[in-house]
């Protein structure tokens, strides 16, 4: 895992050799705002799935400081009860300021767990930005976790969140305003389904496909700290997986993910190959408004083609 995180030729070779052995595991993304109780819920869910005889990989992703490059990876603190279970592997990852490559690195770590034979891989991220949304498109099943009192108004629950969720969880459901949160989510969901023919980009495509075929994201209420509602969550996850497999949704998600991964790898590698003095010079020229960004890109591509011949 350290090797694939670091990247480079050794990592590429490793992934290349392993790739044919991936595709079996059910990838589950779990995201939500800080304080919603994600890690506690992941732990409770893991225990439930273990009781049902499954093995699990858990990847917990946290942001790196953009200033120091360091990170405090503390999700494990709440997963203490899983430490001595041989059927659970937990890996903490930092975002490392990767240029759009966080979802690639996370995908590679998930591939290792998949190839190693774990039944499910849970990828836990803090849902605050584009990177986290990209990670969500890695998963077969995306779960968004909200908690009451974190902004229950329809306006404050981010629209983007609903677009990626296959399952919505209201954790800390024993708190006073939980019912409001559930109601608000129901309202937003019904708006989304009747109103939206708009696709805001590839992110809408997966759940939109599911919606067209008939998957209505359920809202599951949990109290993770007391393991309440977690059985229902596990059932909903199984239901979604079964739905994907029966409806060809699984194949569609695999295809979407493959497309996204190849595209991101292309972007990364192309820029790596084009980097250099010319690259910087052209960017300066764009900044000075001597040439347009499109022209800079075309010149770089031209120079690359010529270099190759």
């Amino acid at each position: 895992m350290t090797r694939v995180e670091r990247g480079g030729e050794a990592a590429d070779a490793l992934v290349r050799d392993l790739y044919p052995h991936t595709g079996r595991a059910h990838l589950i993304g779990m995201t939500g705002p800080p304080g919603a109780g994600k890690s506690t819920l992941v732990t409770a869910l893991a225990q439930t799935l273990r009781r049902r005889g499954e093995t699990l990989g858990i990847v917990a992703v946290d942001p790196s400081s953009p200033f120091t490059g360091g990170a405090l990876l503390g999700d494990r603190v709440r997963m203490r009860d899983l430490y001595e279970d041989d059927g659970v592997f937990i890996r903490s990852m930092a975002s490392r300021g990767r240029l759009g490559g966080l979802s690639l690195a996370t995908a590679d770590v998930a591939k290792l767990l998949d190839a190693a034979g774990f039944d499910r891989v849970i990828i836990e991220t803090v849902g605050t930005g584009q990177a986290e949304v990209d990670i969500a498109t890695l998963a077969h099943t995306t779960i968004v976790i909200e908690a009451p009192g974190m902004g229950d108004d329809i306006q404050s629950i981010k629209a983007g969140v609903l677009e990626i969720a296959d399952i919505l969880v209201v954790n800390k459901a024993d708190l006073p305003f939980a019912a409001n949160t559930v109601r608000a989510l129901h309202a937003m969901l019904s708006l989304g389904q009747t109103g939206s023919q708009m696709h805001h980009g590839r992110l809408m495509t997966q759940p939109a496909i599911a919606t067209m075929h008939g998957w209505k994201p359920p809202i599951v209420e949990t109290v993770a700290s007391q393991s309440k509602g977690v059985d229902k969550l596990a059932d909903a996850i199984d239901a979604h997986r079964d739905y994907l497999r029966q409806s060809d949704g699984w194949a569609q998600r695999e295809s979407q993910r493959s497309r996204q991964e190849v595209r991101e790898q292309l972007q990364l590698r192309l820029i790596e190959r084009l980097a250099g003095d010319d690259y910087e010079r052209l960017i300066d020229a764009v900044t000075q408004r001597e040439i347009s960004p499109v022209e800079a890109a075309e010149r770089l591509l031209k120079a690359y083609r010529e270099r190759k011949s």
């Binding site: 895992m1 350290t2 995180e5 670091r6 790196s64 400081s65 120091t68 490059g69 360091g70 990170a71 405090l72 990876l73 503390g74 494990r76 603190v77 203490r80 430490y83 001595e84 592997f89 937990i90 890996r91 903490s92 930092a94 490392r96």
Partner: protein
């Protein structure tokens, strides 16, 4: 040049419940550019070794204020050895009497940083130990 961040495990073995020092070190090492896996309280030697293995850490830091270091540290070192992790430097923080430092090192501990150790010294020491 190696710009992959150093990964550090900070754990509190045993029943000691005072974690402020461990959290201070964890934050300081993060500010020094390291990735700190902080596992919190009540870690058994087995749990520490399994975490070190899964997270592939470069350094392990144990915080012990309870005086139980004489029993706990050898057990942790042994659990690490069981998992083939003997090349990971292990440092101690907390309350370790001077007269015990020698026996700790005899157990394989790399360094002991007592209360009042400079944060900068600790970070630098870790960097040199991991990337000589």
């Amino acid at each position: 040049m190696n710009d992959t961040p150093i990964r550090v495990l900070i754990a509190k073995p045993g029943l000691d419940g005072h974690d402020r020092g461990a959290k201070v070190i964890a934050r300081m090492l993060r500010d020094a550019g390291m990735e700190v896996i902080y596992t919190g309280l009540r870690q058994t030697p087995t749990m520490i070794a399994r975490t070190a293995l899964q997270e592939d850490v470069d350094v392990v830091g144990l915080s012990i204020l309870s005086g139980a270091h004489t029993t706990l540290v050898p057990r942790v070192m042994s659990a690490l050895a069981d998992n083939d992790l003997t090349d990971i430097p292990v440092f101690l923080g907390g309350i370790i009497p001077d007269e015990d430092v020698v026996s700790m090192k005899a157990n394989g501990v790399w360094e002991v940083f007592g209360p009042g150790s400079s944060m900068q010294v600790i970070a630098e020491a870790i960097r040199s130990a991991v990337r000589p």
